[in-house]
Amino acid sequence: MGIFEIKRFQEILNKFKSFKILPQHVAPYISTMIPWMIVGCIIRVALMPLFPHRDPLALIRVSFILKEQHQLIPTTYPEPITYLLAFLYSVFDPFLSKGVFNDFFTNTAYTPDLLSVPFRTSEPGLFTYLFISKIPFLAFDLLLGLILLHLFKDRKQSLWAFKLWMINPVPIYVSYIIGQYDIIPTFFIMLSLYFLQNERKKSAMLSIGVAGAFKTFAFLFVLPITLFFVKKFRDPKEKVVQSLFLIVICLLPVVLSKTAAYFTPVYYLPTNIASSHFDINGFFGNMLYMHDQPGSPPLIGLLIFGLDYSLSFKTFALFDDVIYVFPLIYSLLLLTLVYRKNLSFNVLWKAMLVFLLLYYASSLFHPQWFIYMQPLLILLVIDDLKFVKAYVALIPLYFVYILYWSQEVLVFMDAIGISKIQFINLFRSIFSGVCIFMAALIILPDNIIERIKEK
């Protein structure tokens, strides 16, 4: 090892030593944070072992099979989350009851898969599975709170952001009630922004890459972040080289996880083609699962989520000329960033937030996907208090929107002659209106907003 390498190693070591979990401007006020943290933790820990939702149960089963058989089920779940949970189950193996997945040992299949839920939930030991599976969610959730502390330079703003995060009902609902792991990619997106704020481009790209490896959605932010870093280069050639370099860095995690998956034997999980469309995996479709290959490629699933879920317009042409709003607003995001002369940290995260607000306003999104916007919304509300009212309206509207997935709650409405789906649609429309309003408020210059106020 040369002198240069030793110096570099020492530099890295010093960086780690100098890194403080709490930013300096907040550290003296830790005592004001602790009660919020305790309350937040109590709520989270209390909910962790409860609510056996169908999706996490499927994920737990896939991870359980990976742990027991060292075989991977090529499902919609990206490999990193499966490996992470399988590792956790290996660590906590003595505490885990095998009965919850006795179908694995008895070769039993439930059609539709939904039928497995009452059988699994009637097995003792399910609480422990749910608790252990959600430990990483809790860890990343708390770490995300710490990142929010770092993103503000003002003490008050940092502390308010942290407090708001700890009691924010959306991540609590998404992570601990419906048990979705989207908190992990959300954490890495925010970590990427933290690195971006500190001009650490490789770390930022690696973080967004890890987020993308967990949820493909995060890859949408690769180009905006890349643009942020290459803007400063004047030479077009250098811009291209740097862009490619950064994109390669961000692809490393997904390449690594796909390589690991490639070398992991496949567990044969056949699909019952006779099941209804709603009971079959959205990615694999209504096709027989044969010869260790899914019936249809996962890309079809991505297109369903990206395009079919999006609001679209059809022209009166001779053929199907359809304009999808989702790619349209993404193009607007990219072009805005390309045409803007200077890109600051504030401009970037606000652009990302505007894109997300317009996306939620114009597309059907699964309840867990709403978590991506939550830390950015907190940044917005703390940064500019004029957004508080809209934010306070948005959160309850979201909780009406998610009734699309549990319409049975509103069954009493049918009895009084009101259509429950129309009821949800009504609130969903208001939700979209609030999202568009917030996006407009972010985009419009302050002087115009002032003029509107005066009028």
Partner: protein
Amino acid sequence: MNKLKTFLLILLIILTPAAYLWALNMFFIPPKIRLIPQWKDDVFLTEPQEPFRIGSNFTEGWSIDWQSGQENGDYGFTVQDEVIDLFATFRGYNYSDGIGFNGVSINKTIPNIDRQAYPYLRIEHKESSSDSALMFSFSISDDKGQWFDGEETHVSTSWSVLECDLRKLHNGTIAQISIQLTDEYDRHYAGDMQHAYIKSIGIYKQNPTWTLTHDRAIEANISTEVGTLKIFGKGNMMSGTIVSAQRFSNLTFNAFVPQCLNVSIKTSGIDVAARIAVWTNSSKPLVVLLKTYNDFDWHIEIIDLLSFGINGSTLYKIELGWQQVYDSTNQSIAWYRQLSFNQLEQS
């Protein structure tokens, strides 16, 4: 002091959730879900039981009953290798007899048997052609000479079984049985000499509950080995070929609506998909399972019938079988055992 505080804090962080989990596991025991079988078939009867054979070698007792539109040498029957060959000649509309149709009938006197105990008639037969004009049928008569027409069917060049519950035809004594080969589906039929071959005629205590059905011309059969139903097929099997064992009888569940169908399945390979179809009426099947397995191992399938919209206490028919996934000339087999219709119970 600080280190002790930190240690106690870490202990609290670990112990509190552990105690919470312990309490949940101890005091909140979820109700157990079980399948309660209300109807089951673990016998899978594919062969008739305890036969009383009428024609085992056909050497005695059979005679020509009547003929229509035939000339000497045109009709008759012979017996070879314990198979009766009944033949007649068809030259178009029979103007001479004024009754129009052509054909021949043979009959035999039946000794008195307890028909409440032996109610099922089965005739294994095939013909020299599949011409749609030709009809294969049977009749029975009582001791007073009154005849009752039984089942009739189109002829076929492959062996098939004509089945009948005789109690539905006539409830008294049966004195004779007759077998007919006629052109009653088209009296203008001119196919010249045609043959009907009969392998066996028997009256049985119990008919098979499961019978074979397939949608393509392949070699197929069903059999039962120690409570396991085996559905076999080979030949030129195109993708999509369906072979099944079907059951019509005793599918009324006495007012209980079955929620779950439970059955164990094994297939010969992943080029064949196990297929289960439920018919709630005679018009259309509801396929509730179509699935491939790659391990030549038994798989327990629990199927929620309600999710397929099946919510009656009576079924018209159930089919257990397989569907060819890829073209093949190898044999394809599916095995089924322990079929049951169940209710879900929480306890």
